[in-house]
Amino acid sequence: MTIVQQLVAGLGVPNFQVLIPEIIVLITALLVFVLELFTKSRILISTVSVVGLAVGALSILTISEGAITLYGLYIVDSFSLAFKFFLIVFTILAIVNLQPYVESKKTYYGEYYYLIIFSLLGMMIMVSSPNLVSFYIGLELMSVSTYILVGLWKKDYKSKEGAFKYLIMGGAGTAIISYAIALIYGKTGSFDFARIFHEVQDKSDIGLTVAVALLIVGLALKASAVPFHFWTPDAYEAAPTPITGFMASVSKIATYAVILRVMVEAFPLNNAIWSYGWAVLAGVSMVVGNFVALKQKNVKRMLAYSSIAHTGYILAALASPNGMGFTALIFYSLVYLFMALGGFIFLSAFEKNGNWTNDIEDFKGLAKKHPIMALYMLIYMFSMLGIPPTVGFMGKFGVFLALISSNVWWLAVVLVVTSIVSAGYYLRVVAYMYMYEPVKEGRFYLNPIEKFTVGFLAVMVLVIGIYPTVFWEISNVLTSVLIMNIGVR
């Protein structure tokens, strides 16, 4: 038996049953890709993508048993399934709002749809990777699609500039992650999380420390933590607003999930290295994100900085490398989806009207013109600020709990102080909406879909904020799944 035969002998047919969601999403992407060549009907394209994704989301519910398939390169467990479900659902919400926006901005490309879906596919691969190879490849599929999405705005220079900055930083991040993977490979001789765990155990030497540090740097770059955040505001401002919403919510959450997965499944016993690293990054992110956001006059940019700050809040949970921290991270990231997407869709709904810009001045008196939409925005703002009964409070509460339970008092204090700073700019938006007279003339046309999306998300923010038990339960279960997965092959 030659060595090649030995290698091939152990490999059977992969379990395609558990890959149904990915397959459906892939087919949807390709279908849209082909359809886009033949039809000019944008409604058709968006309908096909939404229906495809919806079927994909539903198909997740049919999977009852997890599996490790594709020869150990793909893990389907509750953790990945739950995240996939949320990712798909929120992608659908982003997609349905894309259509009116790009149409009014005259930047229509059918490519938007399948690029988003490809990006989604990358995230799905990323969150269900038990292996650095599939993690890397999924991360790249996501990033590459996103670079294009940012730059894809007809005749808009800013879009190109933002995309380029994003690309350069992202490229450097990719290189750093690759280097980290190389060092880990050299250290353990494997890409597999379980193998890495068995090889490393709690023995950490300088090589592993540097590898993990580089991995953290690279992932922080992708998750836009300070000091690697420079691309974020530019790319967010440059992209079409629903795409920004997609990036700020869906791709970020996927990144957090994969950060959690890598850190917990590959280096659970070396948490002394990474929890401290993430804690420092999170602290700096909170401080810089919030203080810079204070100065912004453009609400979209302000939300971008606020998302940096939220990266800080969410990653702060990793400073407490135990079940509580992971639960807090999962919970906060899941609920952050609602706030972030809602906020950006709100912007997009108004921005598509001719004389409206994202400038804070234009928010004056919005509550008089659109009391209900303004109320939704108020809910988002207070949620991001972390005021109960919105869900943002519950997220911060979990992070507080985790931090204090691990005695990371300094980070808790930083979180508190920066939260108070953040009140400065979130309240400004509310104040401009409610406490000034309108300056912009004319009526806004809001699409019913946009109204529905913003309203639905706002109501969800309130409902989950008041009754977060379900989401806490989900987070708890996911955490336990994650922890049970350690070292299992």
Binding site: I137, Y157, K160, L167, I168, Y185, G186, R301
Partner: protein
């Protein structure tokens, strides 16, 4: 035989050079080139470890890095062309429409 560690050290040096390139260069094309340099450095490390480990998975990984380098280069150059068409310049200091 040269110890494999030397190859890794070399890859570290190239990596640092690439990083410096990304930071200090003012020409946007050169920045993109520097990222390519970084990815290449990684390739050396992978192959060196691979040979040390008597494994070939590292070389398989190099394939993916090649793919991604190609993808990033293609998109980056497309963007550079677009930027150049609009701005008639490739100086990074002129890319200042997004600020704050």
């Amino acid at each position: 035989m040269v110890p494999y560690e030397y190859y890794v050290a070399l890859s570290g040096l190239l990596m640092v050079l690439g990083l410096i390139g990304v930071i200090v260069r003012k020409n946007i094309i050169a920045m993109l080139i520097s990222t390519e340099l970084m990815l290449n450095a990684v390739n050396i490390a992978f192959v060196a470890f691979d040979m040390k480990l008597h494994d070939v998975v590292g070389q398989v990984f190099v394939f993916f890095i090649l793919t991604i380098a190609a993808a990033e280069a293609a998109i980056g150059l497309g963007l550079i062309m677009a930027i150049y068409r609009m701005k008639k310049d490739v100086d990074v200091e002129k890319l200042t429409e997004l600020k704050g």
